[in-house]
Each structure stands twice: as structure tokens, then as C-alpha cells.
Symmetry: C2
Subunit: 243 residues, 2 copies
């Protein structure tokens, strides 16, 4: 399983993915689920993937293969905005599904989902979720985060605390807390977390971080949050009329 | 959708269910998902259900119909311990599934799940989860809570704070926080929450509570928790090296 989170902020975009791949019980590997495409000063695109690893890798590999070749409609570096990039991911996904799905289905689920976030010069930062059907939706200021994979455990903390107006560093912190909730409740999602912290207008990848389980900041954050939450809950009164 | 939670404590059992039933967009009703059977001084049994409402009601209605009739194997009031009650629920579920499932499948999922908790004189308090297949598992001191339905949003808070040694009132409070997380993240789970707070050895239903959305205690609890969590998170440092 996988957990990927994309956050759309006034200040930029945060794109985070765990790195556990589970292809059967005898093979648990770490795989990068974040594909980065950048033309400094011109565009930064992050593609996060969940679902069938062969399917998602076929999609991103083809997109990387065609990048920079200059063919309209297939070159991610020539796409006219992030909407077109999301459409390209959806098209590639449909092609792979058309070709492979019926062969894969006897063995497992062939589908995959993607988050596509970043900025192309001349646009605001944008964030999309591409469904297994190849269609897609866009994040907005009112629903500023999108999730794919094992999404539920890490959603309540975001629902309570994250807004479009949150600062980049604040969103990065909340993303780590959301991943912590997911990792605690589901063993199939695993560290390290790959996180792009993209500042609006920078049009450069300079905020790419990998948080290992042993990362001192993340470790201290987890401990402080866990202790703080325990103290908070312990201080709340029990229902009235109970012994 | 539904969220049901059973907690097995040294001090007793907490059984909680939301009351939203969604049978199509034009019919959102409140339904009791908690079936109580008690023989004061002798046994208290709570059955919580999720899944197809016709299936789960067929199961509990048949069990209530046969209760007290004294027929071995079908009378829940004659079952020799809670293990046998869980087995009876599983048997009834298999009968309903055998009879109805193929007719229901064209319209939706016919399956249902149950939590069975309480105490029969001569035993400790016990808690079981009955799967759609009719087989079942038991909660233990090391995994003291079981959930059915929309389980994931409300799991992290329990993973962090609930133990077998928690007091009854503490567990009731944590259950309400778990439901709050679920209600916030999923509109298909709805108040009021029906909660049995059963004290070990009492062998009586005297801790049955209904928490409406407007319940002053629950409202204050939600607000205090939300504000406390926001303050806690705001006080945690952002990742180092960020503006």
C-alpha cells in the first residue's frame, strides 16, 4: 500500500509520498513514488503514484521517455500548463490500462492513481488528482489537499488543521503528522517519506527532502505530538455522571 | 455508512454505534444499530451491526424472536457464554446470506458485519467481531478494540491513547473523540451516537447513553479537543532549514 498527499497552498505546493512497495509477502521494497520533472525558471512538476506499481511505472517511464522530445501532446516539458500535464498522465494511464489490464487482473488490481502538482510559468501553483479512469479533478482553496492510496488514517489531522493559507513549513509539518498517523495504523505504509516543498514562483526544485524513520526532526515531532496529544486527552473531562 | 466501535477493558466493555442509515440518496434515516439483550444479574449482550441494513436486521430480528424460547443453539439467552453468542450471530448471518444474497447482489452489497460484546455470568467481559463469512475473532488485552464499518478515520486516536487498562469513563471519552474524527471526515456517518458503557460484573444495562450532536458534554469535548489540538500543533516546530 501507499500513501501520497498533495497540498495546494497560497504559498506553494507540498507533495509527499511514502516509499513502501509490497509486491507479495516475500518482497517488500522501497520505491520512489515521486517523479520530478523540472525546467529551472520555467516549470516544476511532481507526479505521485499509488496502486499497481507496474502500471504506475509504465505511465511515468513513458512520460519521462518522451520529455523534452518536443512532440506536442506527449512532451511533459512542452505542455501548456499543469491541466495539460494531468491530461497527459490520464492519457498514458488509459493506454497502459487498455494494453495490460486484462492480463494483470487474474493476479491482482491493475489500476493506479496519480497526484500531479507544481507550477508552470504564467500559472498559479496547481494540484490535480488523476483517477484510475484517466479523468481528473483539481484542488481548490476550499479543498486544499488531495490524497491517494491509504488515505483515511491521515485525513482527520489535516481536516482539523490545514488550510490554503497555511505556511509552507506548517504544511510540511502537518504532512509529516498525517504520515505518522498512517504509519502507526497501517504497517503497509512505510518510511522514508519523500517530500517536495515547493515555494510559489521559485520554479526550481530546491525543497526536496527525504525523512527517514530516524530523522531527528521527524522523530522529535512524533514524540512531542504523541506526548502532547496524550496530555491533551488526559486533561479533557470524562462524561458527566460516571464513576 | 456506519461506524461501530467495541472496547474491551479490564473495567468492562464500551459498545458504540452511530445511527445514520443511508439507503439511497432520497432516504437518510436514523436507525439503531445497537441491539441489547439482557437478563439482569445473569447476562448483558450488545450486538452492533454494519453493512446491508436488511441483512443485519434479519439477523438481529431472528435472534430477538428466538430469545427466551429456550431452544438450545438458537436462544441467545440460553447461550453458554459470549463465544456461543458470537457463533449464533455468525450462523444466523450465514442463513440470511444463503437465502438473500443472490437476490440482493444486483442492487448492492448484501454483506454485514457485527460486534458482539458484554458479559455472561461466570465469564469475564468479552468482545467479538463477526465477519461477513460468519466466522469471528475475539478482542484481547493486547488489541482491546474492534471496529466495523467506516473504521479508519477514528483509529489513530485510539491507537495512540486507548489501552485495556483505561478506565470506563476514559474509554467512553476516547470513543466520542474517535466518532468525532469519523463524523468530520465522512458525511455518511452521523450522530446521535448510541453508547453502552458496561461495568464489569454489573450484569445490568445501566450505562446506556445517547449522545446527540447538541449534547453539551460532547459539544464541549469536541471544542476543547479541537482547540487543544490546534494549539498543540501550532506549538510544534517546523522542519529545520525552512523560511
Amino acid at each position: 500500500m501507499t500513501y501520497c498527499l498533495g497540498v495546494l497552498l497560497e504559498a506553494g505546493v507540498v507533495m509527499a509520498a511514502d516509499s513502501r512497495s509490497n509486491a507479495g509477502v516475500d518482497q517488500v521494497a522501497h520505491v520512489s513514488k515521486q517523479t520530478l520533472i523540472s525546467v529551472p525558471g520555467e516549470r516544476v512538476i511532481s507526479i505521485l503514484s499509488s496502486g499497481n506499481l507496474a502500471t504506475s511505472q509504465a505511465v511515468t517511464s513513458q512520460i519521462l521517455h518522451d520529455a523534452g522530445k518536443g512532440h506536442a501532446g506527449t512532451d511533459v516539458k512542452a505542455c501548456d500548463g499543469l491541466f495539460e500535464v494531468a491530461g497527459l498522465v490520464g492519457e498514458r494511464l488509459r493506454e497502459v490500462t487498455e494494453r495490460d489490464a486484462r492480463f494483470v487482473e487474474p493476479y491482482g488490481d491493475p489500476t493506479a492513481s496519480f497526484l500531479v502538482g507544481g507550477q508552470v510559468r504564467g500559472e498559479q501553483p496547481r494540484l490535480f488528482q488523476v483517477y484510475p479512469a484517466g479523468n481528473f479533478i483539481e484542488a481548490t482553496a476550499r479543498s486544499p489537499f488531495l490524497q491517494i492510496g491509504e488515505t483515511k488514517y491521515g485525513k482527520p489531522i489535516l481536516d482539523r488543521t490545514l488550510t490554503h493559507a497555511s505556511a509552507l513549513a506548517e504544511a510540511a509539518k502537518l504532512a509529516l503528522l498525517s504520515f505518522d498517523a498512517t504509519l502507526r495504523s497501517n504497517l503497509s505504509v512505510g518510511a522514508p517519506i519523500d517530500m517536495l516543498i515547493y515555494a510559489r514562483g521559485s520554479l526550481a526544485i530546491d525543497g526536496l527532502r527525504t525523512f527517514e524513520e530516524s530523522d531527528p526532526y521527524w522523530r522529535d515531532l512524533r514524540r512531542a505530538y504523541g506526548e502532547g496529544l496524550a496530555a491533551l486527552v488526559a486533561g479533557l473531562p470524562p462524561p458527566p455522571g460516571m464513576p
